[in-house]
Symmetry: C2
Subunit: 250 residues, 2 copies
């Protein structure tokens, strides 16, 4: 236990220790910030001076939409994306050792869900820092709520495999988990392949299985439609290049 106690800084689970690493969700569309972000987050965004972001330009834009009078030039941004090395990630939390609060903002929606923020959070946890998630939009959770599918058991699988044999195997496994575990299966696809994946699903899976297509969540053209695959097989639709999430259940 000695080793673990040393590696994991905190002695007791409940000790609250400043500073704090906030997980700060951002908007997923161009709609008004107040539609999807609680006012407390907006106040916090104006106060924090050290941010970890995927893209500085969009992060700046989000912060200005939260507070048009924000002093952007006083803010330090560290960029975290799939090119960031583990050493760079480890040093990103340095401002916290000097006592500063920090926040992670993702490109869209909730940080560390389907994006690289989780590595930084894991380090903050190991160092024993306080980590606080804030409320914001998540296409996974919002589509699940509106699908009518089982919300007591569900899985998000990220992207389907590209290789067609692996892809069919994955779909069959999802079918098994729907049948045997009553587990809603949620996944995404590269947006230019949205129409193709719907056609593929109608061929690979039983027609009575239900598909929910949730598109442009929180946006102007939001549409969340649950129908049997037999309906989708002959329906007219066009989700090309629109951010869309897919849910299966029966």
């Amino acid at each position: 236990m000695e080793a673990a106690a040393t590696e994991y800084g905190m002695e007791r689970p409940r000790m609250k220790k400043s500073p704090c690493l906030y997980l700060m969700p951002s908007t997923m569309s161009d709609g008004t910030v107040e539609n999807v972000i609680p006012s407390t987050n907006i106040l916090l965004a104006s106060r924090i001076r050290y941010f970890i972001v995927e893209n500085v330009r969009t992060a700046r834009r989000f912060l200005r939409r939260c507070d048009p009078s924000i002093a952007i030039d006083d803010i330090t941004f560290s960029v975290l994306n799939r090119h960031t090395s583990p050493e760079e990630i480890a040093s990103m939390l340095d401002p916290m050792s000097a006592g500063h609060d920090m926040a992670i903002i993702s490109e869209a929606g909730c940080p560390a869900i389907a994006d690289p923020g989780a590595d930084v959070v894991a380090i903050a946890q190991r160092k024993g820092y306080r980590v606080e998630p804030l409320v914001g939009p998540s296409s996974i959770l919002m589509s699940l709520m509106a699908s009518g599918f089982n919300g007591q058991s569900f899985a998000f699988l990220g992207y389907l495999p590209i290789d067609s044999r692996e892809r069919v195997a994955r779909l069959k496994e999802m079918e098994r988990r729907i049948q045997n575990e009553r587990q809603t299966q949620i996944f995404i696809e590269t947006p230019y392949r949205n129409n193709r994946i719907i056609a593929e699903l109608t061929k690979a899976l039983p027609g009575r299985m239900l598909l929910c297509v949730a598109s442009d969540i929180t946006g102007e053209r939001q549409s969340i439609i649950t129908r049997p695959l037999s309906w989708w097989a002959t329906a007219k639709y066009n989700y090309d290049k629109i951010p869309t999430i897919f849910l299966l259940y029966s």
Copy 2:
């Protein structure tokens, strides 16, 4: 296709049709509403006159916290819980056929996620009504963000089985999915058994596996701690009767 087209009211996926069924998240703790609910939801809560709720008393209280001047007596509440019959559920959406917007509010957090709202949403989808999810707090998503675990693949499993043999089998299956699929496993326990399940996990699973215990999310005593099971085996903690969610990963 004829049958499906008749049963599923809408002809085209993108047609927007009033009225709308809103999924309206509620607070999970006694903190201020503005901390976790966007201001747009609060405005909407003051406007809607037909609600489907788990408990009328807590729903009234939530609506008053959103808008102290709300005219509660003008609001119609339908109660949806596990005792509600399928026939009652089907008739709950009658106000929508008269053109009224409706909203589902759960006891705490997001409706239709780990609560009975999903049945009503499924009917609304079948009737071709517009369904719109609103942003709000979810202990599942917030704990996942702050855990540092894989957010590109995760599963929420609800409650663990009570029978001890089934329980051990479930834990072993979770261990397999963490190893083979890199899938974060998330579950809950009856709050008076929180301490016991942590002890159980430290015995049933490898000591190097990581457990995140996320407790009183959004509340005064919020604490989200990720440590190896070997650390939890000797740690001092007391989560008795505090709403808590558990996440496993390695």
